[in-house]
Amino acid sequence: MTESQAAHAAMASDPRYRALVQDRARFGWLLTFAICAIYFGYVLLIAFRPDILARPIGQGVTTLGIPVGLGVILAGVALTAICVWRANRHYDPAMQALREEHGA
């Protein structure tokens, strides 16, 4: 085993590394379920209760469907931003620190 391979192996078996990778994966799945729930919730609403979305909000012609539909798009962008923000702020520095510590 070369020196760098040994460093990699040590890092891979570090419990902090394992916890970090697990936490990051769990966060990714959580966001995946969130976007799936939002999108398929919207599709099922259209399929079974379109009347809810066709209901006007307030006095005018604007219906509930408009903010809900635009909200699905916005939610997609927002969840993406949350994921990137957390990775840049939290996961990247934590991983970098581990790499430096292990010389990997």
Binding site: V61, G69, V84
Partner: protein, 571 residues
């Protein structure tokens, strides 16, 4: 145009280029006619072509290795890559097709937009960074990372070429129709022009030129859509409510003019503000939603863009930029569609005697351009629409060429022992072959209904590439045999069920009731692929399976940390 029947089909085809939405065709059955030669549009387009050829010349000097050719040397920034990805996704059809869908039926257009958008977060949450850390040039690098190279590469190359060819045919047919419509050029000439220009970009400029052409086009398209949406809103004092109210009024008066009773006319008016006929049955809706959402994560020409950035962080940032731009673009399209109802549907200058849209159903955004900015702006919008198709077909061709040269030639035939120069030579020889194929198929399919082809491409991506990628990256027990059997099962099922679905069984072959009644096969074919990969891997007792499973830890370490990943090249 050979007759109203053909013309109707062409209008449907045009609507569906790169918009994998069969139901869209329902709304777009107006005729298309060849327009008078549009000189301002041709001049604007010539300007765009000149600029992109200059970019290609600049890029050609920088393409020295296979890495430059496939991935621009890994030197594209997250922001630039985000724009290029958005450009790949904002096709002429999502601009013309979705705004036309909104023009025809209002709210339903928004449902498509949401489906196209939500695939992007999934790519980021599950794949983007791992792709960048494991791959070099193609998604097959990732899928075959710890497996036997030959079978997995062959599978990946086959599925890449299948997706690319179906997508290319739809783009070429759409390009021919669009150019005929906008520029008044002959169909065959239009297809040949697209084929030749795209060959120039890819052959000489590789990924560097393909990316920059895509970026230029994305900026032009976003700028032009922003101007249109602001101009529309400005005419209503920036009140969306006033715009919607006027649109409802126009739709009601159009219905009343068509002989509807007062009550029916008012109902037709308010119908555009809620979901209409888009979703016919929940199974089709979910199946189609799955294909849109997860197919995006399996499109080879999209996945290859993640290898053009230097590291996982840039890959991540590029998805955020792309999602932001695409979301913004869909909001603009929504305003443009409603704006077209208020300004185009009520203006006899844009209508035929029978009240249908002059030039065909897809012309809503184009007529709106005239209404807002006169002939010059019309020319600009037409040129941007054409540029959009060119940029998308260039990306597709590059993806197909990399599958042939990198996956088949370098990895299977030369067993990874060939040099970068000979691999580059093979990719460059593949480009004109693919272009010729695209031109021939584009002309052959002129009068065919190719509406199902982009849908099929998405279904193949969602049922083959996506399960294969996800399982190989995330599941330790996955084996070579499981990947190849499960992936092939998914793609095969998607192909067979598409042939048995109404879009081909009834509309193309002309049979009676289709054996598979739903509009997308994904709800069956994708779970089948996952099941196949899981079961076959589980039962795999071969020697290779032991190697495959033992390779997981090393693969996972690299996927999570990026240590050992190929970085940006030195220049």
């Amino acid at each position: 145009m050979k007759g109203p029947y053909v013309a109707t089909r062409c209008a449907m085809v045009l609507a569906l280029v790169a918009v994998p939405a069969m139901a869209l065709a329902d709304a777009l059955t107006g005729e298309t006619q060849q327009q008078a030669t549009n000189w301002p549009a041709i001049a604007m387009f010539a300007l765009f072509v000149g600029a992109t050829l200059l970019i290609t010349r600049w890029a050609a000097k920088r393409v020295r290795s296979a890495s430059d050719f496939y991935t621009a040397g890994g030197g594209i920034s997250g922001f630039q890559n985000g724009l290029a990805i958005a450009g790949d996704y904002m096709s002429a059809a999502s601009f013309l097709g979705i705004s036309a869908q909104i023009f025809a039926s209002g709210y339903d257009g928004l449902i498509y937009s949401t489906g196209f958008l939500v695939g992007w977060p999934i790519i980021l949450f599950l794949l983007a960074e791992r792709l960048r850390n494991l791959g070099r040039y193609t998604f097959a690098d990732v899928a075959s990372f710890r497996f036997a190279q030959t079978p997995v590469r062959l599978f990946a190359a086959f599925s890449t070429l299948a997706v690319v060819v179906f997508y290319l045919i739809a783009q070429m047919v759409g390009a021919g129709q669009l150019i005929k419509l906008l520029f008044g050029l002959d169909y065959a000439w239009a297809v040949v022009i697209v084929g030749v220009l795209m060959t120039c970009y890819v052959l000489f400029g590789g990924m560097i030129a393909t990316t920059w052409v895509q970026i230029v086009k994305a900026v032009l398209l976003l700028g032009c859509a922003t101007f249109m949406a602001i101009a529309v809103l400005a005419s209503f004092g920036f009140s969306p409510e006033a715009m919607f109210a006027r649109a409802v009024e126009v739709k009601a008066s159009v219905a009343a003019a068509g002989g509807a009773s007062a009550a029916d006319a008012s109902k037709a008016g308010s119908a555009i503000m809620g979901p209409g006929g888009f979703i016919k049955d929940p199974i089709s809706a979910i199946s189609f939603g799955l294909a849109l959402m997860l197919g995006t994560a399996g499109l080879p020409h999209i996945l290859m863009r993640f290898f053009t950035v230097p590291d996982a962080k840039a890959a991540r940032n590029s998805v955020l930029w792309a999602t932001g731009w695409i979301g913004y673009f869909y909001v603009l399209t929504f305003v443009i569609g409603f704006g077209a109802i208020t300004m185009v549907a009520s203006d006899p200058a844009f209508l035929e005697a029978d009240g249908s849209l002059r030039g065909g159903g897809n012309m809503a955004a184009i007529h709106l351009a005239t209404a807002l900015g006169g002939d010059l702006f019309l020319g600009f919008v037409s040129a941007v629409a054409f540029a959009t198709i060119l940029a998308v077909v260039a990306g597709l061709t590059l993806s197909g060429a990399s599958a042939v040269a990198h996956d088949i030639y370098a990895s299977v035939i030369r067993k990874g022992e060939g040099d970068s120069d000979s691999e580059l030579k093979v990719s460059r020889r593949t480009v004109p072959v693919l272009a010729a194929l695209a031109i021939v198929l584009g002309i052959a399919f002129e009068t065919q209904n190719v509406a199902y082809m982009v849908s099929l491409a998405f279904a193949i991506a969602a049922s083959g590439n996506f399960p294969v990628l996800l399982m190989s990256v995330l599941w330790k027990g996955c084996t070579t045999r499981g990947i190849v059997v499960g992936g092939t099962l998914g793609i095969g099922t998607a192909l067979v069920l598409t042939v048995l679905s109404p879009a081909i069984w009834q509309d193309v072959i002309g049979n009676e009731a289709a054996p598979f009644p739903y509009s997308s096969p994904t709800i069956i074919s994708m779970p089948l692929a996952f099941l196949g990969i899981w079961l076959v891997s589980l039962m795999d007792r071969s020697g290779r399976a032991v190697v495959d499973r033992e390779g997981y830890e090393a693969q996972r370490f690299r996927a999570e940390t990026g240590i050992g990943a190929s970085g940006a090249s030195s220049h």
